[in-house]
């Protein structure tokens, strides 16, 4: 990494305890602007807790982080204007239509009405969903719901978007299409922090880190990491790291 890079996320010794349980244990990392950064780890490794802290939804027990240059401890309000978020649970309103959902979130994210309409039309064209535009979300196929959820999360063109297991339950084709959308967003300068437990998806990231028991065990470019640890694929790398540290 070069020094003149702009970092959109800088975490410094972040720690979060729930009672005696240490969910996130003293992690530090940074993510450069326009980078796709993958968080790998089993369920309960601390990925979601980290994201919640970075979004300002959860206060760290110790340490701090800067997102888009704002401090998560004191400037949560500013951060919320510059980030997008898609949770692992599908969370658009099922009884409203696609357009109604996007109008709602666009307005909440303070988009100008004209601009919002233009972007909604773009998304409908991009995803080729004219047929569904005025259908209730509940009637859509799961893959489309997930793509739509992502499109809504970046509707206001945030600087950073947090994707918490965005593709869980989707079929391989949808996942491929979804990742195309992620690449597109990154090309437009949006920094992407994505958690996943699909190891093949890890290959698509610029850099990844593997979390286990709240700690970052390894961090770097997927191909370089495979070479260093002398493994053929990400799955083997993950197994090796987790076995090593357990």
């Amino acid at each position: 990494m070069q020094d003149n890079l702009v970092y959109n996320i800088v975490a410094e010794r972040l720690k979060r305890k729930f009672g005696d349980f240490i969910a996130v244990d003293d992690i530090s990392f940074e993510v450069a602007k326009g980078e796709i950064f993958g968080f790998l780890g089993a369920n309960g490794a601390g990925k979601t807790t980290t994201i919640r802290m970075l979004c300002g939804l959860l206060m760290p027990t110790a340490g701090t982080a800067k997102v888009c240059g704002y401090d998560i401890l004191t400037q949560g309000k500013e951060i919320r204007k510059h980030i997008g978020y898609m949770s692992q649970k599908f969370s658009l309103y099922e009884d409203l239509t696609i357009t109604e959902n996007m109008e709602l979130f666009g307005t909440i994210y303070r988009l100008d009405r004209q601009l919002l309409r233009k972007r909604i039309l773009n998304i409908i064209a991009r995803l080729d969903i004219r047929y569904y535009a005025n259908k209730k979300v509940v009637s859509l196929p799961l893959g489309l719901k997930q793509k739509l959820s992502f499109a809504t999360a970046i509707l206001h063109q945030p600087e950073v978007v947090f994707l918490d297991e965005p593709t869980s339950g989707a079929d391989p084709l949808v996942r491929r299409e979804f990742w195309n959308m992620i690449y597109e967003a990154a090309r437009n300068g949006i920094t992407v922090l994505v958690t996943t437990h699909y190891m093949d998806e890890a290959e698509y990231c610029n850099r990844i880190c593997i979390m286990n028991q709240g700690q970052i065990k390894i961090i770097g470019n997927p191909s370089e990491l495979k070479e260093q640890h002398n493994v053929l694929n990400m799955n083997d790398l993950f197994q090796k790291i987790v076995n090593l540290t357990n």
């Binding site: 206060m59 969370s91 658009l92 309103y93």
Partner: protein
Amino acid sequence: MANNTTNTFKAILIKEIRHVLLDKITMLFTLLIPVILVLIFGYAIRTEIYDAPIAVLDYSQTSQSKSLINSFLHSDFFKVEQFLDSKEDIATAFREGKIKMILVIPQDYDYALTINKNAQIQLITDASDPNISTTLVGYARQMISLHEKSLQNADIEVEPIEFRIQMRYNPQLKSAYMFIPGNIALIMILVTSLMAAVSLASERENGSWKMLIISPAHQLVIIIAKILPYMIMSLICTAIVITLGVIIFGIPIEGNIALLLLVCFLFMFTSCSLGVLLAVVSNTQQVAMLSCLLGFFLPTLLLSDFIFPIENQPILLQWLSHLMPAKWFITALRDIMLKGVGWAMVWRPVVILTSMNVVLLGASLWQLYSKDKR
């Protein structure tokens, strides 16, 4: 900034109104509840009774007593079903359930009337339905006074007859006009507290809440926009209840309409705050719904003095009843509607409701902020 907030507020409000309008069954149900409640309570507590079955126990067996019984026999209000022989028959007659009231004429009735001593008549009623029994006692008193007057016309000078009324099964009788204020309280709780709690809890459960609070929108703006449609619905329902009460049951509105509205708004905000608190504390819709029904609706029904007289309940429950917002709301509403009292008289319920509101609102906001950060 202010413009953004207004837009956000409008967007969430429109969304919430869409939710409400889309759920047609709930909507229909909500608008029907006031009508159903008023009709049920109204006709269970009707005040006009004809041909009420009564029994007579005549110890006296004189022409005076016969003439009194005769006036009952010819009345539209009563139907003398049974003549009893002894006081042992009283309990049996009531237990069979056919008799609503028993007229007991003492042995010395004739004698007392004649020597100008107070003549005593005993009226025993089945007060398991307190409203019917109050009404019957009222009718009987009138009949006996009329009879007494007819005696005076016959130039027999008598002292007024003294009544000794005994209300069985429920010594304290409650006003029939209780139910309109009570129904308003129940409906307010159902529409504001319950529906707002469920809608808020369901957003928290399905994750869309997270999408909202991660946005730049202020939490307070989100919540107010979310519960406003339910507030409006509750006011519509209140208007329905009051209108039905006035038109069908002739409930008077003696007092100040502005004061009436103020009290309604106060109670609406109080139950909203409680609804928000319950939604935030409970993690799922089901828990929110149950805690609202069992923790708020049921205690209100039992302790707010509108169906079950609070004076008859244990001291502990009487104390607890002071904690029910609905108790103060109903008191104030009744005083304003029926007695027409002014600002000076309802300050106590107003102050108590306001303080409850402040406490509940504070608690729910505190829970909201601390829970999402935890």
